[in-house]
Symmetry: C2
Subunit: 736 residues, 2 copies
């Protein structure tokens, strides 16, 4: 950036008021006065007072939220009355009044709510539910309606969540670094807990409650047993005491070796009675501090974490031991299926035997794609009732695009919980604007065919297909202690989208953007439309400039920042990009058909058939499942190499188009956020060009084909890109 440019940025920042900058801290809970005068007048005439029944801790914070929200949005004092008044909102559990309207409380469950107009002439609205949680969610819903300028007369709406446990997973370490975190330090200040309650904890809870999130795993899946010691449990208790008011349960990650690490035992064998006893007592202790503790999330025998296999026991043995300790307290175990140790007795073939082109790097390993399925499918039905298996989207990791995991639809006797990654480990981290709504939806809408057509992942996980008694959904948090929580202002949208989809996966990506943009920026349709255009294009853009046509896992080693398709010396074969793209003089892509790893055989036959034949395979997944010759003619008529070039260049073009659209919003937005996003989009454009150039120059060494003449030339050679080093890239090794 030139000095002139920086001076310019200073001046434009300074043109914003110093007093109350738009620093993003308020997220989507802004409650500024309605800026449409007609609508403001209308709302004001409809609401003078509230009549609020009940005074539990949750209802107290809910009432406060409603009063503050209404007073902010309407710019007037709202009175609390003890009796029914005209122009009022009545908040009451199991509303006892004569309304002429039947509320089906049985269908509302614990969290659902109904909002209805009791008297449209006198402007009396009722928010009702079975319990405190439903009231809390109903209030946030009502406020959102006003924030997004919806009509609030003649209401008759009911909303219940599709999934019971809607959970954020924090990969936060006890030293306040965050694995794959790109927004500063962890918001959990363990050192100051339990004595110091940061106001941020309350605002975190408010934000989660406003979108229906009702659980939080505080600690990293790469776990530290210390969090299970008394000192730390008292800190956890202090957070739980805050979050309980917002209907949010606290969970912890359980390090499987904790009985050894902090318990003084010699073993953590799950079948050892002393180990079982240790966990039983530990769990009792936890519940003595936190009576509504949610349970454990466990990463076992994966990437160096200890687990039951260390003792020749199965994942079921390990999960069941913890489940038995938690069951008396109604806690659950969320056991991760993200394992990819090669277990010779289980993996069905080895890649040594695959015929590879002599120009390709040597690869020896089973297909990592298949290992979770191989490990867990045989265990279906062997888990306790309070165990759920948490399955990453997708089968490899959280790539820009993956096909669905073959586990969905394959474990009818075991509740499966999908794990989405909100933090953008593989999606440009905190500098790239990538809206993940379409990514989440792609997975949720994917058909497993587990019980025939229409057996979508959503229907698997909401329990409707298999009648699960526990349902859940998890998102790996993108939250840190930066002023705006997520680093990139648009990162907030991914937190928001996760919560909203966890509540109702039938919401469209576009509806969610609409809500979020209105609450976060403005209801001005010019802005909403532009933001929607940008956001809805952004995921396909990142796929195109990073990993088009089914490429995957070709990013920098370790920090995962930037492209590095050439890496072939990582600690395991399946940590190498070359393992995944398999480019050679013949072509590119991972043959997972019967002629290759046959990973496709793990899917239902209908799924397999749609991808197995190169000719029919959706080109989104082409190189996920096929090793395709460079001159293979794709559906566009272009040969594969040209299509690859086309995709990479169009990814960059989309980012530039996003920049132009954003620039057009200058007059409509506050200076601070406008400039912030503008700078980040400029970085994103540079990074997209970097990805495109580095990948194409590298793949060109195999294809030996030219980048078509009509495209701009790479501005560096391949050696330049290969030489780039980023020792302090954030999110790994203590880097922030």
């Amino acid at each position: 950036m030139t000095m002139r440019k920086i001076c310019f940025i200073i001046y434009v920042f300074l043109s914003a008021p110093f007093i109350h900058a738009e620093d993003g801290y308020r997220l989507w809970l802004r409650y500024d006065r309605i800026d449409d005068p007609v609508l403001l007048q209308q709302y004001r005439s409809q609401i003078n007072s509230i009549n609020f029944q009940g005074s539990s801790p949750t209802l107290t914070v809910a009432k406060k939220e409603l009063l503050d929200g209404l007073q902010g949005l309407l710019g007037k004092k709202i009175i609390e009355t003890g009796s029914r008044q005209n122009n009022s909102i009545i908040i009451s559990k199991r509303f006892p009044g004569q309304s002429g309207i039947t509320v089906h409380y049985d269908a509302l469950g614990n969290d659902g709510f109904t909002i209805f107009t009791l008297d449209s002439k006198k402007h009396v609205t009722v928010i009702t539910a079975n319990g405190d949680a439903g009231i809390l969610y109903g209030i946030f819903h009502f406020l959102r309606m006003m924030q997004t300028h919806q009509a609030i007369s003649n209401l008759r709406l009911t909303s219940t969540p599709r999934i019971q446990n809607r959970i954020l997973d924090h990969w936060d370490n006890l030293n306040r670094t965050v694995e794959r975190g790109y927004a500063g330090a962890s918001i959990w200040n363990w050192h100051l807990l339990p004595g110091y309650i940061d106001k941020r904890y309350i605002d975190y809870a408010r934000a989660n409650a406003s979108i229906g999130i009702n659980g939080t795993v505080l600690t990293n899946v790469n776990a530290n047993a210390l969090v299970l010691t008394k000192d730390y449990l008292l800190k956890v208790k202090a957070l739980a005491d805050v979050f309980r008011n917002y209907n949010i349960k606290v969970y912890l990650t359980a390090r499987f070796s904790a009985p050894i690490d902090i318990g003084g035992l010699k073993t953590a064998d799950p079948l050892d009675p002393a180990v079982q006893n240790w966990w039983n007592k530990k769990v009792d202790e936890i519940y003595s501090y936190i009576p509504d503790f949610g349970g454990f999330l466990v990463k076992a025998n994966s990437e160096g974490q200890p687990g039951p296999q260390t003792y020749e026991r199965t994942h079921a043995d390990g999960a069941n031991m913890l489940a038995d300790a938690l069951a008396p307290h109604h806690g659950i175990v969320m056991w991760r299926a993200f394992v990819y140790d090669v277990r010779p007795q289980k993996s069905s073939e080895n890649f040594d035997s695959l015929k590879m082109d002599p120009s390709a790097p040597t690869i020896t390993s089973a297909d990592r794609f298949k290992l979770a399925y191989d490990e867990f499918k045989p265990l279906d039905g062997k888990f306790r009732k309070n165990v759920v298996i948490q399955v990453k989207n997708g089968p490899i990791d959280f790539q820009p695009r993956e096909p669905l995991s073959p586990l969905f639809g394959s474990m009818p006797k075991t509740p499966l919980v999908p794990e989405f990654q909100i933090t953008q480990e593989y999606l440009g981290q905190a500098t790239n604007l990538v809206y993940e709504g379409p990514l989440f939806k792609e997975c949720l809408d994917a058909d497993t065919y587990g019980k025939g057509k229409g057996s979508t992942v959503a229907k698997v996980i909401d329990g409707s297909l298999e009648n699960y008694s526990i349902t859940g959904i998890a998102g790996v948090s993108n939250i840190g202690n930066e002023r705006n929580w997520t680093g990139h202002p648009f990162g907030q949208a991914n937190w928001y989208a996760f919560g909203r989809l966890a509540w109702d996966y039938d919401l469209s990506s576009s509806q969610i953007v609409d809500e979020w943009a209105r609450q976060t920026f403005t209801n001005d349709p010019h802005v909403v439309d532009a933001v929607k255009k940008i956001m809805l294009s952004s995921r396909e853009a990142v796929v195109n400039y990073m990993t088009p046509l089914g490429l995957h896992h070709i990013m920098g080693t370790g920090h995962h920042y930037g492209p590095a398709p050439w890496v072939n010396n990582a600690g395991r074969p399946d940590w190498n990009p070359v393992y995944y793209h398999r480019a050679d003089s013949v072509g590119i892509g991972f043959d997972r058909t019967v002629t290759g790893s046959n990973a496709l055989s793990q899917y239902a036959v209908e799924v397999r058939l749609q991808w197995e034949d190169l000719k029919n395979c959706d080109e989104k997944y082409l190189l996920w499942f096929h090793h395709v010759p460079w001159r293979y003619k794709t559906r566009s008529g272009r040969i594969l190499w040209d299509e690859l070039c086309y995709k990479y260049y169009s990814g960059v073009d989309t980012v530039r188009w996003m920049q132009r659209i954003w620039d057009g919003l200058k007059a409509y937005l506050d200076t601070e956020r406008f400039e912030q996003v503008k700078m980040l989009l400029a970085i994103q454009e540079k990074e997209a060009v970097w990805w495109r150039n580095a990948c194409l120059l590298y793949f060109q060494t195999f294809s030996k084909l030219p980048i078509p003449a009509n495209y701009e030339r790479p501005d560096h050679d391949l050696e330049y890109y290969k030489a780039l080093k980023f020792p302090y890239a954030p999110g790994i090794g203590g880097n922030l």
Copy 2:
């Protein structure tokens, strides 16, 4: 904290408005409307417009600050006019108008300013200076006068800084951790620079400029050569481009081995022509990006850092090599005197020979107190003109109380720069309210007797004693990316006090508190008085509950959190608390008289004499200089042991008294900051009790005397305190 208590805190937090919380981000630059209606009316009638001459980058931001400040404080639009008007402020360099007032521009220098009333009837005020910087500082001064409700009529004031280079040292690492940082991550987001300019950089510059700080060392003294590579220098340049507008120069720490680390050389020998050439070229490169680069800060041959002694060269050889590279560009070298390697040929005696009580732990090392002096005193006069020696306050480290360093007053031919530690490494870190004004003043006011009575440290460092051509003062920053910058809201006061004293060391601690409290909280005298009482007692309190009567360096090893006087197994003898307190069956304290290490001999005779005789020695420094028997009768009439108990208990009592005073402010302060400080004071009280109990129980094992009966009993035994472990205490090893 009980659940009830946490619920309570949630409710009180929620009673504050959501919209614009008092999150502390605005520091002392608040510009809220004057809340005294009479004064507001008066100010309003005096100021309608400004007449601002000049449009350089610095003047542009200064004008913006003035307009925003006035408009905020007065709650009305201020007009900018091109001609002189009634009720206006004229801002003009070397004011050319007929004023009847003579401004002595020659005495103002670069940074000084004059503010005077040109016409008291027509309310015309002039802010003038020689250049942009003076105008900037004059504007901040004028705004401060209004923020603190001072009269702005009949003005005739001039202010010039006593010291040229007023510098913050950031111990910030390239991975965004901060050594001895207790306020989250580094505010420098290296990964996003240079493309992303965080608004925080601008607000940081504004805050510094408002108190006269004009330099910032961006990187840790435990240095990383990578910051000197082109990629990082372009990031540094982006920051320099921001800070230049606020008259702030950027400095870097230079890792002495950089020619090897990043230059590909085999040596970093300062007399090697290839090494000299490398540094010359590197410095030229830096100035090609940053024409006003300030220079280097260097920690060499200290605590593992490389340095010239690695090559059998002196500190002067090392410093002069860098100085020669910087001289053509007018850059300076700040070379730290914080060295304590035992160099047998130089240290005058060894403690092996000291007769120690058999009950005392074995100690073998020279007196670390003496090593900096031993090393640097002989080099006086051997440094280039653009080298300054940066001397810690005090001779050991940044303890709650240290006597002055004997280097002050002993190096007449070498400009000395004092290094204060604003971050509270040894002062309770971010949980203890400790106002450092009195600590800084104690050092600045200390008499070195270098040129006879009145040769204070302040007069040494401002150059008035020895006519230095370069003067400077450095403070180790307490800033991080927490919303309120410093973690503890009162940490802001230490940043503020450092800047104000760097500008004018004659300001009293009390005056500075007065200013800061009015700007930060309110001008309500009830609050100002109470805050002043708390703050002015706080430093003596921390001395008492941590290290009374001259005890020092008895904190926990590594993280320096909490008491650990028992530690005797650290990596070097002089890292052990037992090395410093030397408690044994006879008594306690470090004999630094002629019968001991004779460190006192390093001072001027007048200084030595005031401390050498046990009977006359100020008891503040008693155990710094004497090994004193347990039953020695102190001036209070109490024996030493009882006096030690008295001091420890009174330290805790003061904290409790601070809590009571703070509680009385509830009705006068915003909820958010009131509750925040209240929680932190409760933690401070716990930690003070912990220090007191742990230290007394431990020292009691030597004194064998009882804690007097009228005191509350320790609530744990010594073993409990010794067993406490804090693996994730912040500020070290990547912990945040």
